[in-house]
Amino acid sequence: MNTRVAPSVVDRKPKEGIAWRTLLGRYGTLIALAVLLLVNILITPNFLQWQTLFVNISQVATIAIVAVGMTLVIATGGIDLSVGAVMALAGALAPLIFGSAFGMANPVLGLVLAIALPLLAAMACGLFNGLMISVMRVQPIIATLILFISGRGIAQVLTNGNLQTFSHPAFSYIGTGRVLGLPFQGWLAVAIAALVFWLVTRTIHGRHLLAVGGNERAAELSGVPVRRVKIGVYIICAFLSGIAGLVVVAINSASDAARNGNLMELDAIAAAVVGGALLQGGRAPVFGALLGAVIIQLVKYTLLANGIEDEVALIAKAGIIVAAVALQQGRRE
């Protein structure tokens, strides 16, 4: 599938009206955030309270963590549909491990393994995606479709489709703990974003990443290890999805393979795109993804807090995605 819109010579539009589109494209994210905050302050009851902040931070963190990974994947011109399934898989594994006989007998080792093994499994998923895409040259959307379909199935087979509830304060800390009064996973998301930002802007790997997304052929010819870069970003994206899956399970003190990470690929893609990632690749606005995630979460919260049905929120999300991408296309002309 050719996702690239061919800039045809014939139908180039006149330059009028470009100015405001550029403006909206460049500062659109910030403007949207400001408008959302303003609207909420005006209409949402009890918006300016600490409780609202806590709720939103604890919910936005998972979107933000996955969106950062998705941003890297999109920067190479790819896409990862399997993030939600990987979340479900990692989330299903953790309680199985610390709840097993071995995990009960060795609580500390059990906890370490319950975090490490699911993340390893997630990275294995990423490796599979990366190999399919870079070595077998399958289009990213199709390659990641395989795990999108079967990954959640595997998680459900592992748990027999049961809801696994547990009480494990140490594990639940990653979803319910507070650091300096704010939810732990919020700090985690910011730390991850900072680390990835450093990776992208300050290391050779970041340069390789953007080169691959900008022009793969040129990158390859100039000696960039294209395959390794691509495999790497899918592994990172899956790893971050795994972390998000663990956080969701920790928040709920329960793992539900059917619902963990459901539709997360949409939220993550939306957040990345709203944050300024170009679907054609070549840009990796990591903090933009963070901002995008906040906007997606705020839209959800606004609708929910004002008693608007969940279903309408779906339509709103669809509108945001289309608007963001359409604005991008306008900016490229």
């Binding site: 599938m1 996702t3 061919a6 379909i149 459900q156 489709g161 679907l279 289309v322």
Partner: protein, 339 residues
């Protein structure tokens, strides 16, 4: 560009798509023989009718998906559009089939038009655009139905479409699917629009420079896919007696898998309706046989395994297609320009 297009009775285009079509067809025959020999009820009228009736919906959306994929696009919205249309049709079922059927198709067409608008006018990549309409249609059907299944009116003639047989022989749904398949085949193989569709998938910019109506061809593909999904929704409501807003999850994947199994390249520019229909039947048959095995107690697979198997199947097909594509690029790409 061969001269066979002149001859209406030449059956070679039916099997175009090279070795893979023949292979898929042989696999289908083998599976049928295997099923007939292993299970006594496999060839029974009940199994055949229910198998075809159930898969009619998937064949429909696969045909629409095939045209879209040929242009190099993708339509992820088919499942939730079908669900939306099933809700619409169920609401209108008291007025009879003559109202509910066109309304369901119209609902599908509307989403097809929306897809075409977002992709062509707003220049959003097809995959993102149809992902958004997937959400929109899902939200729409949930709002419309209040997230509950809508029972159809059993008093009207609405359920005849999905539950009765034409002339007491073939289920109506199968007859209609056959008709749609023939229309799609004629469009693709015998019309200039079909050639444009293939050309657009082969190279959009080149087609546009050649003066082909790229936009119109693409719009047609999405409208056709939307209409197919709408019709599938009407079948869903009529055959199962209810409009189902929660149905349709993962249908797009089944459709994509059928198209790929049928040998259509996901990069566009090559594809066959016949092979897609065979692909859809093959995919349905795999699950039919798994059900029989479950029934015999040889294996005991929970419903969750279905997803795993579906994914593994897609993986297998992609592996096969990679090999085919590789061979093709070695032996020269003559086949790919046959349309």
């Amino acid at each position: 560009m061969n001269s066979s297009t002149e001859n209406l009775f030449d059956l070679r285009p039916l099997l175009r798509g090279s070795g893979q079509t023949v292979g898929v067809f042989l696999a289908l025959i083998c599976l049928i023989i295997f099923g007939l020999m292993r299970y006594e009820n496999f060839g029974g009228a009940y199994n055949i009718a229910s198998f075809l009736n159930y898969n009619a919906m998937f064949i429909l959306i696969s045909i629409g998906m095939c045209l879209v994929i040929i242009t190099g696009g993708i339509d992820l919205s088919v499942g939730s559009v079908a669900a939306f249309s099933s809700v619409c049709a169920a609401y209108l079922s008291p007025y009879g089939l003559q109202v509910a059927l066109p309304a369901g198709i119209l609902a599908g067409l509307a989403f097809g038009a929306l897809n075409a608008f977002i992709i062509l006018a707003l220049r959003v990549p097809p995959f993102i655009a149809t992902l958004a309409t997937l959400l929109g249609a899902k939200g729409g059907s949930l709002v419309l139905s209040g997230a509950e299944t809508i029972a159809v009116d059993w008093g009207s003639n609405f359920t005849r479409l999905g539950m009765e047989k034409a002339f007491n022989i073939v289920p109506w749904s199968i007859l209609i699917v056959l008709l749609v398949a023939i229309v799609a085949w004629v469009v693709l193989e015998r019309s200039s629009l079909g050639r444009t569709l293939l050309a657009v998938g082969g190279g959009e910019e080149a087609s546009s420079l050649m003066g082909l109506e790229v936009g119109r061809a693409k719009a047609f593909a999405y409208l056709f896919s939307g209409a197919c999904a709408g019709l599938a929704g009407v079948f869903l409501a009529s055959g199962f007696g209810a409009g189902q807003p929660l149905e349709g999850v993962g249908w797009e994947l089944s459709a994509i898998a059928s198209v790929v199994v049928g040998g259509t390249l996901l990069t566009g520019g090559l594809g066959s309706i016949t092979a897609t229909v065979i692909g859809a039947l093959l995919l349905g048959l795999v699950f039919n046989i798994l059900n029989f095995e479950n029934g015999r107690g040889t294996i005991s697979l929970s419903a969750y395994w279905q997803q795993v198997i579906r994914g593994a199947f897609l993986f297998l097909v992609i592996l096969l297609q990679m090999r085919v594509a590789k061979q093709r690029s070695v032996t020269g790409a003559t086949l790919e320009n046959a349309g």
